[in-house]
Amino acid sequence: MAQDKITIKGKEIDFIKELGIEDLPIEEQGKLVERMANVVNKRLILRILDHLSEEEVKLVNANLVSGDTEAAFKIMDEKVPNFDKIVSEELAKFQEEMLK
């Protein structure tokens, strides 16, 4: 399983290996990762919701449904300009939590 390294606190690591789950069956790894993703996902939602009003969510939604992703990108870029920071923060936090 070729895995890219990730950097946590300046240290390059293989996250799956670091977690010690690389020898688990792929299905089981998948289930764990799914759960992890759910957690990160929910946390990201919580963070993103801080930046969007209900009206804005409606607007983004309407754009997504109508296929106007450009417009949705624009709103997201405007309203969540620090999305990458949010993601990296949540990721780092989560990774540390998992590795502790």
Binding site: M1, A2, D4, K5, I6, T7, I8, E12, D14, F15, L19, G20, I21, E22, D23, I26, E28, G30, L32, V33, E34, R35, M36, A37, N38, V39, V40, N41, K42, R43, L44, I45, L46, I48, L49, L52, E54, V57, K58, V60, N61, N63, L64, V65, G67, T69, A72, F73, M76, D77, F83, D84, V87, S88, L91, F94, Q95, E97, M98, K100
Partner: protein
């Protein structure tokens, strides 16, 4: 169990008095559950039963040893941490839900019923193969957006189909908008090279194909009236301009039944139904126009046929036979007339006779016989030619048993005069139309 976890004997405590030993044993007996009569234990593995092992729990000689796996314990730890993370996150979600009165319950219900990880599933591919966290998070973000929207109660009322659509779009959004940033973040020292993006980006988007979305759509979002299909099988008009039947497009019921009865959703549903009704009404108009046109043409044809028959009738009356009067040849002669075009007119009675003769040709004289399958197609060809239809509009595949039965019944009714030629044709069309 006490044998497994029996602590190593400390030399300093090895000397225990008899009284103390008895006390410990008595204590253990009190704590232990009552000993049940020994039951035969299943041992499909063929391994030495646990109780017959070495008192330390070690495997006996010859038995496969099963040392505790450090990976497994690590995995257990990961699971524990994960469970804690889930609990804390869910608590925050619940808190937000309580504060704002939305978000959590619906989000959680989606998560619970497994509708949630559509994109995630794809993210996992990336995760397990190449980019453990990047794929997930990219998928996550897209998913998260859809979730957030649903959480706001905007999408949920409209149903899972809506949700699926949003997921698709959101997945794309997550993959294209967030992915490079996430990869860059994840890879740390590595730059998010186009190759890296290319490797990771397609993965989260993969499951967002209709097949992936389909299972998410609950029963409620299925088209409300799929039975409208027969409407799209009108009598084929004979005029070129109306030759193509207007198949009313069944507007996909994009607005599923709204479990919460939101006015907004009802409005959308009303709009969708109105649009569909308008299409049906238009289709009905077109069909009616085509039918009227067909009746006009049939009337003209009838009149012209009468004239032609009058012209040929004299010679027949004299008993002259210009050609062998076999059923088939006479039928073919009339067929030729019909095929020649609209100038050759056939009235209803003649058409009926013509079809009757054809039926006899294909079936035989005995009305109790049924028409062989191949001949049913010939009959269909014949009838469709009369009405100027194209073969490609018909299903040439072998008839199934239901179609077979229907055609036989139809032919019998036609023979008995219970159905008109028009009805015969309509019914036949319905049965064998593509």
């Amino acid at each position: 169990m006490d044998r497994i976890f029996k602590p190593k004997e400390d030399p300093s405590t090895t000397e225990i008095s008899k009284e103390r030993t008895d006390e410990i044993v008595a204590d253990q007996q009190v704590r232990r559950p009552p000993i049940r009569p020994e039951e035969p234990k299943e041992n499909p593995s063929g391994k030495v039963p646990y109780d017959e092992r070495h008192p330390d729990g070690r495997a006996l000689p010859g038995e496969e040893s099963q040392p505790a796996s450090p990976e497994k314990s690590k995995a257990e730890k990961v699971k524990e941490n994960l469970t804690n993370a889930e609990k804390s996150t869910d608590a925050k979600v619940a808190e937000l839900s309580k504060e704002k009165g939305y978000f959590a319950s619906k989000l959680e219900s989606l998560a619970k019923n497994k509708k949630l990880p559509l994109l995630l599933a794809a993210g996992l591919v990336g995760l397990t193969i190449a980019l453990p966290v990047g794929g997930v998070v990219a998928g996550c973000y897209g998913m998260g957006l859809a979730q957030a929207l649903i959480g706001h109660g905007i999408l949920y009322g409209a149903g899972a189909e809506f949700y699926g659509a949003a997921s698709v779009a959101a997945g794309t959004l997550g993959a294209t908008w967030a992915m490079p940033k996430i990869i860059k973040e994840l890879l740390g020292k590595k730059e998010a090279t186009p190759e890296a993006v290319k490797t990771a980006t397609p993965e989260p988007v993969k499951p967002v194909v209709p097949e992936a979305v389909k299972p998410v759509v609950p029963e409620a979002v299925k088209p409300i009236t799929p039975e409208v299909a027969p409407v799209s099988e009108p009598v084929k008009p004979a005029t070129p301009e109306a030759a193509k039947p207007v198949a009313p497009e069944v507007v996909p019921a994009s607005q599923p039944i709204n479990p919460e009865g939101k006015a907004e959703d009802i409005d959308k549903k009303i709009e969708a139904l109105e649009a569909r009704l308008a299409k049906f009404e238009k289709a009905i108009e077109t069909i009616e126009a085509g039918l009227n046109n067909l009746k006009d043409i049939a009337g003209n044809d009838r009149a012209e046929l009468e004239k032609l028959k009058e012209g040929r009738g004299g010679s027949k009356k004299t008993g002259e036979k210009a050609e062998p009067a076999t059923e088939k040849s006479s039928t073919e002669a009339t067929e030729e007339e019909v095929k020649k075009g609209k100038s050759e007119k056939v009235d209803d009675k003649d058409l009926h006779d013509l079809i009757s003769q054809k039926i006899k040709t294909y079936r035989g004289d005995n009305p109790k016989n049924t028409i062989p399958n191949d001949n049913k197609h010939l009959l269909r060809h014949f009838v469709s030619e009369i009405y100027g239809l194209k073969d490609e509009e018909y299903n040439d595949k072998p008839l199934n048993s239901l179609e077979d039965i229907k055609i036989n019944k139809l032919v019998r009714e036609f023979d008995d005069g219970n159905v008109t030629t028009e009805e015969f044709y309509e019914e036949l069309s319905k049965i064998i139309r593509k």
